[in-house]
Point group: C2
């Protein structure tokens, strides 16, 4: 592949040490991964219907190549050599890179190929079965695949290895949120749960007393082309760089960071969903700004140019969506922007106060992805606890619907009558992702904790937001989070940025204030 190599060297180190060779190799691997990412994005946004089979073949081929490259013994040899190279022993950047490359290589090589293939097959067939089961509201159709998924994930966890004093589930969680454990999660989630359940009750009482604000401003019917213009204007002002990215429509909004200079986000639009489009747009733009803020230039392919964990990634999206985009200060600036785009008539009768409240209503919902900031975490804790129990063997897959429905009744006061809006609603388990869900709430927790710490560094933050100036906010997360990539673990990053380990306190303070502002309780 000489033509390929010759192109790499243009922007890669030209040295000949094992470490230099390793970075060249990693960069090439990352370029191939970015090819697959581009195809995945295209699949969800542009690909014609009949292109699906070819796309599956392309992605399968590339995934095989990527696996071969990630487990290439040459990579292992260079890594071992670099780890023993005294010339870079004092280089903190190189050492952090090597630590993370070692982690990735060990994770990739610990799993026997047969298990990887079984997991892939199970996820591919499991997703089909899940779609079918959900459409037909028939849990029994999915049950065999759910059982298989948890069995394979137990085997996966055994291969990856349980941390000292830990449990099988930790090994799975670690693949999404490195270093996090079930026990530590429990410690953080516990107080949050104790705080949330009565808070939801207070809101429900206020509602019953007729004290709930109107949702109308948030569901005003507005033209979709103007919604796109509005969301683009807002996310651009926040700092998403459209010269190095784009926003398109897709069924489910997502963010795909390709590599240097190319990060793509998607959004979805409904006639009466301008506030939904705004929140999913600012959410995905938050993910996008993290991707755009990672040092992908010369470090592309190295762990220090990658995001550190799903929880931290989610914190970046949630901050722009919630702490910024659902604040009163934000609406003071954004409502006039909206008037300029939609016209005064279209937004008649909507004021800063009413749109702020309408976009912050708390309302128990069967569906996780449609839930508000307060109740969302209850959905996550439920999933975390149930999947942990299923891995432990304390809960049989077949008993899932019953336990699920009981819990939803207790936490949210809702009676699940159909599994498709109960335990069949999420794609994650069908894809084989066990240990993932908690990262959503980690994102909420991190975002609140970062936001609080940032507030001390930027005392006039509220005035800045009111005037549509988001540069200090973006600058703060660039400095404290984005630029580091995987240099520090998520926990260390949090400690360095906020002076404290991750805690549920800041999120509870934030939600309490929000509920007070909206409901007066």
């Amino acid at each position: 592949m000489s033509s390929a190599t010759s192109a790499q060297t243009a922007s890669a180190p030209s040295g000949s040490s094992a470490y230099d060779k390793l970075t060249v190799l990693l960069r090439e691997n990352e370029i191939l991964k970015s090819v697959a990412n581009t195809l995945s994005w295209d699949q969800e946004t542009m690909m014609p219907e009949q292109g699906a089979a070819l796309r599956a073949d392309q992605l399968t081929l590339l995934s095989g190549m990527n696996h071969d490259r990630n487990t290439d013994p040459r990579l292992g040899d260079l890594l071992g050599e670099a780890e023993n190279d005294s010339a870079i022993a004092d280089d903190p950047i190189a050492q952090a890179n090597l630590r993370e490359v070692r982690r990735d290589y060990d994770l990739a090589t610990k799993l026997p190929k047969s298990l990887v293939e079984e997991l892939t097959r199970c996820s591919s067939m499991g997703m089909r079965a899940w779609k079918d089961a959900r459409a037909k509201n028939d849990f029994a159709k999915f049950l065999p695949w759910l059982e298989k998924t948890f069995e394979l994930n137990r085997r996966k966890a055994e291969c990856l290895g349980v941390p000292e004093g830990g449990e099988l589930y930790d090994a799975l969680m670690d693949t999404f949120e490195p270093g996090m454990t079930a026990k530590r999660t429990e410690e953080i989630f516990g107080p949050l749960r104790e705080f949330t359940v009565p808070l939801v009750q207070k809101v429900m009482d206020a509602k019953a007393a007729g004290k709930a604000p109107s949702v109308d401003p948030a569901v005003r019917e507005l033209p979709i082309d103007k919604q796109i213009e509005f969301t683009t204007r807002i996310t651009e002002a926040m700092g998403f760089d459209y010269d190095a990215g784009r926003m398109d429509a897709s069924t489910h909004p997502f963010c795909q960071g390709m590599g240097p200079g190319d990060c793509r986000i998607t959004n979805r639009y409904r006639a009466n969903g301008w506030c939904d489009a705004l929140s999913s747009g600012t959410h995905e733009a938050g993910h996008g700004m993290y991707e755009q803020g990672l040092p992908k230039g010369e470090r592309f392919g190295q762990p220090l140019a990658e995001s550190v964990s799903l929880g931290i990634h989610e914190s970046q999206s949630r901050m722009w969506e919630n702490q910024v985009g659902r604040s009163q200060a934000f609406w003071k600036w954004a409502l006039p922007v909206a008037r300029g785009i939609f016209g005064d008539t279209a937004l008649e009768g909507i004021g800063v106060e009413s749109i702020f409240k309408a976009s912050n209503l708390v309302e128990p919902n069967f569906i996780r992805v449609e839930s508000d900031e307060v109740t969302y975490n209850l959905h996550i804790m439920l999933r975390f606890e149930l999947e942990r129990a299923m891995i432990k063997g304390n809960l049989a897959c077949k008993d899932l619907p019953g336990v699920w429905n009981e819990r939803i009744k207790n936490d949210l006061g809702l009676t699940v009558t159909e599994d498709r809006i109960g335990c069949l609603q999420d794609i994650h388990w069908s894809m084989g992702a066990v240990g993932y869900f908690a990262t959503y709430t980690f994102g909420n927790l991190y975002s609140a904790q970062f936001w609080e710490a940032m507030g001390k560094d930027i005392p006039n933050r509220e005035q800045q937001v009111e005037s549509g100036d988001f540069s200090s906010i973006l600058g703060w997360v660039r400095e404290h989070i984005h630029q580091h990539g995987r240099r520090f673990s998520a926990g260390e990053l949090c400690q360095r940025a906020t002076g404290k380990p991750l805690s549920s306190e800041p999120l509870m303070r934030y939600l309490e204030a929000k509920v007070h502002a909206v409901y007066g309780v």
Copy 2:
């Protein structure tokens, strides 16, 4: 790459003969090529500005991989084994495939890697120099790269080998139009040139006598979103399958066939260019319908699922653009369609006769890509003759502008005052493509010859077009051209479809009739 292989086998032959293994390998190679094609399409349509460097790295990596696969000795071994397999000696499909795989493999392996790399480098730097030279209207800036390009192409031709009784140029031409030679081209182009020059003069005389129809209907200003709707409606009616393709905007219109179920075309739009958008849209859709008509299902990756030559490909685009899309019968159907989309008021004063004539005006133009059906071929013959002379050594690159300008004066009566609208206008030589230009006129010739033959098989073709029914036309090209892929050479295909070898007669008859209908001369 076992995961890749396991996916392939789902839709590839499961046998274990060398031929079966070969087709599996070819299919995998083609899947990887289709990945690069998707990225190329994205680059021209979707990619954000700052993604260019990453995209270049991705395409370089893939091109190196593709080259390695095309020249893989394992491919050569399987090919040799299959060629000697008596079990398939009587299978015409297998034998045609093997003949063409042999051709490709020999072409790929005849060129030393060093020459391939030099050509790539020269084209990459040459394109930059050409863009700069064209912008500054400075031929001297491009001259060294032009000289290098022709020198490398001579070496390339020597490696590929000159056919018996032929010349170096033939070897280059053969890479674009297999089996075609300079001598044969000369024989076909000669009469066409003798016919065209006086025809252009007749038109110019008519114009001078005030007998030229008005261009106004073709340049009416119309909203671009409606132009897109109109072009989409027309191309869909012609038979381009939008469930297996899409049309987007790009600077230069093109067609990219990815593989089964995915073929993408692009178009460009200007406020006063609705007829330009129509003709480039029908042109690209013609390419697209050929791609969609190739037997890419189970034969994907085999030569028999590929287009046979650039000339035949161009014939498919030109037929829909010109023979169909610039006919009176077409406008009888399409003008009411246009009225339904643009509105009666927007098209006020435009009738079938006036729009037919306006979209068929003959007007000498400095620029090839802006030229009409009649003068276009003069541009091609000029380029064919000059590049042939430059390969032969009969024309020095430095003398190109003078010879070019003299010829344009003689053929078209135009005085070139700037090289950027003269010999610096085309990208082809800067890309290293020598021997390519003639295929544009082959396309015109083939399309006219196919059209004439088809007319005998479908006597009521005109009535069908008038009613917007294009199914017989598409059916005819599907049967006589598309389904065969590379089973027959372009020459054989022409002979089988029309009963005659390629000739300039049908095109001359077609152009004479068109000019008569438009100008009455």
